[in-house]
């Protein structure tokens, strides 16, 4: 299961590291990929997190907002 977030234009690739580190600490996250040029982040969820994905997504969105990358849109 993946969730893809469109963020505001990413300007510094060092923010990629920041996003990766912060989202990596959200419960249920298996893998985080930051697409710098597309300004997108793709979260792969752990299999066992399937049932709580809406909740996990919410905390991922909060995390992104807190570290300064508000979510513009979400897709699967």
């Amino acid at each position: 299961m993946n969730t893809k977030y469109q963020l505001q234009t990413l300007t510094c690739p060092s923010c990629a590291m920041k996003i990766k580190a912060a989202l990596g600490k959200v419960a249920g996250v298996e893998h985080v990929e930051v697409l710098f040029n597309a300004s997108k982040v793709v979260i792969t969820w752990k299999n066992e997190a399937e049932s709580v994905i809406p909740l996990a997504e919410k905390s991922a969105e909060e995390t992104l907002d807190r570290i300064g990358f508000p979510v513009i849109s979400k897709s699967k």
Partner: protein
């Protein structure tokens, strides 16, 4: 305190100007007050995200800048605090705007998809949002509008410009029953189209998805840079702490924090790649990533497939040599037998007969001969059509001299026998693409060797090769031979790419470890397996693709070298105390901007020759 970046910058500029006026009026207190206000206004949003990051134990450039600015305020370097935070804010604002430009070419691909569409509901057109469209809807599209989905024309006819898909800018006529593609433009006419593939399922949707994915596929060189940056930042932070403990020089320690994020370096490769890929996409060339650009820029040999790549893949009868029979009688027998075959050679014979107004009859008892050939009864006469090889195997004597002469001219020869007697030869030609010779020459000029792979007879291959100016020719190739020959070229010359049309050479192209498919935006298999895809089936885009990849790679390398020099000089400057907080920030932000502006040049890159 919510404020957009623009008004924040305006406010900061005013504060800084007021500060300097106060200083000029010898009001030091006022000067410091303005500077502290400016620094506080600027640092607030930076510190906010820095704290957000700290909650996840993440240290970003925002954390370091916040420490530097707050530190500078504490040691009462108010101007430095204001300047560093101002430059950081301004730098980010400008980077944001220029970065958008590097990505603009890719973003503009989306403009070929209409956002609003008209569909026919209860016999009248209704306007809806494009994302509300469903399969089976009837699109209503008029002149000047772009089609929103792949589908079939169910009413009307129109001149359609399909350049977004086929790369051919000449409009073509389409009628009821014809397929149309999303993103193509109706020049004149009104159409009712049944939507069959929409959104990411459509051909154009797939192209966009591919480019989107490609822009973040990293070049090899980029990975090593990222590893470097990963150690560089914590390294400098440690150095800063070490310097402070050893020298108690807080100014030096804070300055080190400001320069610890090698922004220009990390951004150097991705900006060049996104601009290069964007330029390609706008010109009908899809690169599947930065790594592909890197590989193509290094290409030393190009292996062309023959049929459909160097040639147009449309066979035609070029010459007829009848023996003891009337010319049109010979064609009549040949066409009658071939009318039951689907082979491209058979189609060429039938087209030729139609041009001469010869109506073939139905052949009976038609059987396929092993190798190339057909046997059947036409008007109670036994007719055989076959390749010279087949007749050779049957030990039937052939006019060898003439066959050799025709084959040496690049023609494929087929033989017609009637009642066991040879009655004629048909020489069939595949038109060489007009640009083939020119493209091969152009590649040669930039030091790239051309080779040709074909399943055809060596004499035919030699002739076509000669006409295109290709020296290395491998004839009688099966698909697996092609891959072996590619490896051989690679050993001999270095990076080798196979170029094909994705139809006649699909297996070889899929197995080649580096392949370019041309004219293939509509060919899903070729889109999947090739590394570079050219929209049009003309060869002209090939040299451009190579030149663009070279320019992009060069641009990327320039950026990297520049960024390394800046990072190194900054470090020396700071350690020798020539660079202090604000100057460090200024150089840092400027270097990032220069790297971006350099990449933007790629968007206007044009071929020197074309």
């Amino acid at each position: 305190m919510k404020m957009d970046v623009k008004s924040r910058l305006t406010l900061l500029t005013i504060l800084l100007v007021l500060g300097w006026i106060s200083r000029w009026l010898s009001q030091p207190l006022l000067f410091h007050a303005f500077m502290i206000t400016a620094a506080s206004v600027a640092i607030f949003p930076i510190a906010k995200t820095a704290i957000g990051g700290l909650r996840y134990k993440v240290i970003g450039i925002d954390t370091l800048v916040s420490i530097a600015v707050i530190g500078a305020m504490l040691i009462f370097e108010t101007w430095e605090a204001a300047a560093v935070s101002y430059l950081y804010t301004l730098g980010h604002y400008l980077e944001n705007r220029t970065l958008k430009k590097t990505r603009g070419a890719i973003a503009s691909l989306l403009e070929n998809i209409p956002t609003r569409v008209s569909i026919i509901k209860d016999n009248i057109p209704v306007e809806i949002m494009a994302n509300e469209l469903t399969v089976g809807d009837i699109l209503f599209v008029r002149s000047g509008e772009r089609i929103a989905a792949d589908g079939m024309i169910i009413q009307g006819s129109a001149m359609i410009n399909e350049s977004s898909i086929t790369g051919e800018s000449v409009s073509i006529v389409k009628n009821i029953g014809d397929s149309v593609y999303g993103s193509t433009l109706i020049d004149t006419g009104v159409l009712h189209i049944e939507a069959q593939h929409i959104g990411e399922d459509s051909t154009y949707g797939r192209i966009i998805a591919l480019v989107e994915e490609a822009q973040d596929k990293k070049a090899k060189i980029q990975r090593s840079l990222e590893t470097f940056a990963q150690y560089y930042t914590p390294g400098i932070i440690l150095l800063s702490i070490f310097v402070y403990i050893m020298t108690r020089d807080i100014r030096l320690a804070l300055t080190l924090l400001v320069i610890s994020c090698p922004g220009a370096l990390v951004i150097s490769a991705p900006v060049s790649i996104v601009a290069g890929i964007g330029n390609g996409a706008k010109n009908g060339i899809l690169f599947k990533g930065g790594d592909v650009m890197e590989k193509l820029s290094d290409v030393k040999a190009v292996a062309f497939d023959k049929t459909g790549t160097l040639t147009q893949g449309e066979l035609s009868v070029e010459q007829v040599v009848p023996y003891d029979i009337d010319h049109s009688k010979l064609i009549y027998y040949a066409a009658s037998l071939e009318s039951s075959s689907e082979h491209p050679l058979a189609k060429a014979v039938l087209r030729y007969a139609a041009q001469l107004d010869i109506r073939p009859s139905m052949a009976r008892e038609v059987e396929i001969l092993p190798g190339f050939g057909l046997r059947g009864k036409v008007d109670d006469l036994i007719v055989i059509i076959g390749s010279p090889r087949w007749f050779d195997e049957q030990r039937i004597p052939l006019p060898d001299a003439i066959i050799e002469q025709l084959e040496s001219a690049g023609l494929t020869v087929i033989i017609v026998s009637i009642n066991e007697k040879i009655h004629g030869l048909l020489a069939i030609a595949d038109q060489i693409r007009p640009s083939a010779h020119y493209v091969v020459q152009r590649l040669k000029r930039i030091g790239i060797v051309s080779a040709m792979l074909t399943g055809d007879h060596p004499r035919v291959a030699q002739s076509i090769g000669r006409q295109c100016g290709i020296e290395h020719i491998q004839a009688h190739c099966l698909p697996q031979d092609k891959v072996r020959y590619l490896d051989q070229l690679k050993k001999q010359y270095g990076m080798t790419v196979m170029v094909g049309d994705g139809i006649n050479d699909a297996p070889a192209l899929a197995n080649a470890d580096f392949g370019i498919a041309m004219g293939s935006y509509t060919n899903h298999t070729a889109m999947e397996s090739a590394d570079v895809i050219l929209s049009s089936s003309s060869l002209d885009k090939l040299p451009y693709a190579i030149e663009l990849s070279k320019a992009t790679t060069r641009n990327m390398k320039t950026n990297i070298v520049f960024a390394l020099i800046v990072a190194f000089s900054l470090m020396i400057g700071v350690l020798t105390k020539h660079v202090f907080l604000s100057v460090g920030m200024l150089i840092h932000e400027l270097s990032v901007l220069i790297v971006i502006l350099n990449a933007i040049r790629l968007l206007t890159f044009k071929s020197k020759d074309a």
